[in-house]
Amino acid sequence: MADFNPEASNEAAPPLTVEEAIANLHGTDLSLRYYAAWWLGKFRVSSSAVVDALIEALDDEADRTELGGYPLRRNAARALGKLGDQRAVPGLIRCLECSDFYVREAAAQSLEMLGDPAAVPALMQLLNSGVAAAERVPGRPHLQEPCEAVMEALGTLHATEAIPLIQPFLEHQTKRVQYAAMRAMYQLTGEDAYGRRLVEALQGADVVLRRVALSDLGAIGYLPAAEAIAQASTENSFKLIALRGLLEQQIGSDTELSEGAIRVMNLMDALL
């Protein structure tokens, strides 16, 4: 969710052609490479030449930050999740062991989007140290491991074997980590209680956390949350996206509309 802004328009990005973006990706100018990797993901350019170039960029050594991070690898990992090409999976799994937290996080998120269960063992490895994985790294703005992204991925990938690993995080002091655990546990167990806890989170005092809860409810498609989502105290754009997640779960055949679908759409209409 880091760079997601439903109010931003596509027209704000400086224009590139696909050829320019690929050329830049292969070029030597680091900032042009970095931007090209972002651009190709943003505009969903999924040709195999692009995917090949981005997979190569996962091993890039040229672009480093002062703290030892790998910016180009981060953008390449983020983009590959959006392009839907399964060939990226092995490279992304290797990225789960990168020393750069943001590369590991991007890899986990992209592996979730690509949906290949082969990623599960490597993802579970990241939670091996238990709740210590969700401790802050001293002097850095992030946790030891990208626990939210990992748990969300394990949920989406139906990794029921990860249930014992995820459970301890349900009571973590950081709400965002709790919510990610609830979301994953709902997906892995189907137990209503986890959905209900996320609905309760919509009443929280912090608007950022309310948005996170909305996003989680949309991701799991928890229909009982529909009215609570519509009334949540956040901007309408986030509520619409969450309700869309519920609607997607309600869609059956192409011509039949379930009661749930109609109920959700009535709520969406009122939020426009």
Binding site: E7, T234, R244, E248, M265, L272
Partner: protein, 214 residues
């Protein structure tokens, strides 16, 4: 105390509110006054970046009806897209056709998705009978063409709002009913987004149900 002095007090209370609770309470009191003198302040509240207060102000403006229309049009905030979205929502609910050009512009060229959505939805519901009779057909055609254009947007939620607008237009402007039903069929064959497709289906079902009653 005269009414006008009382309204001034209520307005000042909003200006001086120094907490979210005070702001909400003072806006509620101002909205409850049902006074046209409250309109400029209620419109200003739309730009305070406080959704609770803004929603209350929108409801207050809608309750004031036609007298709120020109102030809303004139005070449309060019710089604050949040305020603009609330204004457009109020104008959409008031459904006064004097807002037509503003809604068309908001639906097609505003950079903020929330503004485009609210305008697209509102365009379908305008009270056509408030227009001089000789202008009605042209206005309805303009709205139809605008919504067709809005349906080209790359943002699914804006295409969704266009469908809501088209459904309302098909109901309120009977000359557009058949063209819109044909449009919905065409859209189903090219629209890939599941949420938008579902909304087209629902629009078709609603229109068929209404025609069946007639």
């Amino acid at each position: 105390m005269t009414d006008s002095a009382r309204i001034q007090e209520l307005i000042q209370a909003v200006e001086q509110a120094n907490s979210d609770e005070r702001l909400l309470e003072s806006v509620q009191a101002l909205a409850a006054s049902h006074s046209e003198a409250a309109i400029p302040m209620l419109i200003a509240v739309l730009g305070y970046n406080n959704p609770g207060a803004a929603v209350t102000a929108v409801e207050g403006l809608i309750a004031l009806g036609a007298s709120a229309v020109m102030p809303l049009l004139e005070q449309l905030d060019e710089y604050n897209y949040g305020a603009r979205a609330y204004s457009i929502r109020a104008l959409a609910a008031l459904a006064d056709p004097r807002a037509l050009d503003t809604l068309v512009s908001a639906a097609t060229i505003d950079f903020a998705p929330s503004v485009r959505r609210a305008a697209a939805k509102g365009l379908g519901n305008l009270h056509w009978q408030q227009l001089p009779p000789e202008e009605i057909a042209q206005a309805q055609t303009k709205v139809l063409n605008t919504l067709i254009q809005v349906f080209q947007d790359s943002d699914w939620a804006i295409r969704y709002a266009a469908i809501v607008g088209l459904q309302a237009l098909a109901k309120s402007a009977t000359s557009t009913t058949e063209p819109i039903q044909n449009l919905f069929e065409q859209m189903l064959s090219s629209e890939a987004d599941p949420a938008v497709r579902s909304r087209i289906l629902m629009a078709q079902q609603r229109l068929q149900a209404e025609n069946a009653i007639v």
